[in-house]
Subunit: 246 residues, 2 copies
């Protein structure tokens, strides 16, 4: 709970910024604004969350210096998984990281309570404040230093971004062949349930783990018309075969 | 519903055979046996399901000829996603396909009602009988010819086998770095929910779709110690970048 009123400004209007605004809106003693430009900052902010691309972050951090009221000592935190805490160290104010490990799409509703939040601060007061802020919506608030956060981010690229892409490739293949991706839904639900209830490594199935060369060859010949699918099939099959030697 | 008593024998004691035995056990008017060898067949079978590897299937089909009572006209069906119906055409008895599109692990419980079943028959009587049998446990019974089934199987290798492997790679990375795969669970649940509620292609997120070169480079440099993870990261990132040109 936030006991004294806090003004939170969220810089950046991408998916993450939009969802964090929504997650924090209406929480007791928190006022959230989502300014279009740094010039709209008023100097009365207690917490400024910078939710811009990793590429833009160093530049925004630099520009921010002339838009904050240093006497007010606002906490400035970024929301990036990969960028070190240090990117904000030149600001003459407390700073931290407020990283939501989640897949944000602008128009897709989320259960904010389920978002794991990873927090880091330039001192323990900052960490405590950001952990309290995160705890207003998330049931999974953790402390993670920059190194750990970077490692988690890599893990999440595999677990989320790559997995979704592989589903998109399945969808592409089926659509190209006049079939509905919906036909995969029951299988996808079960695949997910199994991977969460077990170690994914322990529950691998399919032609590659069986080293079933005729099936693999038959699939590759069907995929010859689509270089992207053919290439990914070959690469992931080889990776599975290597993970489980005969 | 099966109206007159049917003897069902399931050849093959792998994951699929074991689960089909369990799925059919105790259903009214169905007796299921799971013989260890073809010699255990008694000639009184009404339906014989061959659930062996795609590699072994042609040989088992050939050997089976001398173990069935042709006058009894048992239906012989295989459970393979990839093998054409034809593999059974030399048997002098009706034949078909009884393909469960699911990821079976021996000791993992399944909700059999959710397994999509794809049926094909050498004539419509066979298809009807196999669809009735599948309908005893599954709420999703479809007819699919060999071509369609083969295409669905390729789609399922991406949607299930490859996706699970990518999760296993995430697990491997985290474990190597002293982190728990559990930390990905909330993200995985949400990734799956989004992919099922939308087109996966439409809800892609992450550094690759943003063409965020600094983050990608930073991740690749972290992965340099693990050639497998490095290679898969590069391949899937390139595939996403190609799917969504800047």
């Amino acid at each position: 709970m936030i006991t004294d009123k806090k003004n939170v400004a969220i810089i950046g209007r991408g998916n993450v910024g939009a969802h964090l605004s929504r997650a924090l809106s209406g929480k007791a003693n928190v006022t959230v604004v989502n300014p279009h430009t740094l010039a709209e900052l008023t100097g009365t902010e207690d917490i400024i969350l910078i939710s811009v691309s990793d590429t833009a972050l160093p530049e925004i951090a630099e520009k921010l210096a002339s838009h904050i009221d240093i006497d007010n000592k606002p906490i400035v935190a970024h929301t990036s998984g990969t960028t070190p805490l240090d990117v904000l160290s030149k600001l003459d104010t407390p700073y931290g990281v407020f990283y939501p490990m989640q897949t944000f799409s602008k128009d897709v509703e989320l259960n904010y309570a389920e978002i794991p939040m990873f927090i880091e601060g330039s001192d323990s007061g900052v960490s405590d404040m950001l952990m309290t802020l995160a705890g207003l919506f998330s049931n999974h608030v953790h402390y993670a230093d920059s190194e750990k956060r970077r490692k988690l981010h890599v893990g999440s690229v595999f677990a989320c971004n790559f997995v979704n892409h592989v589903w998109a490739l399945s969808e592409k293949w089926l659509t190209e062949n006049g079939l509905e991706f919906d036909m995969m839904h029951a299988l996808i639900r079960e695949t997910t349930r199994k991977a969460l209830a077990n170690s994914p490594h322990e529950v691998q199935t399919g032609p590659a783990i069986r080293h079933d060369a005729p099936t693999i060859q038959s699939h590759l010949s069907m995929l010859e018309s689509d270089a992207q699918l053919h290439d990914i099939y070959k690469t992931l099959t080889a990776s599975i075969e290597n993970s489980y030697p005969e």
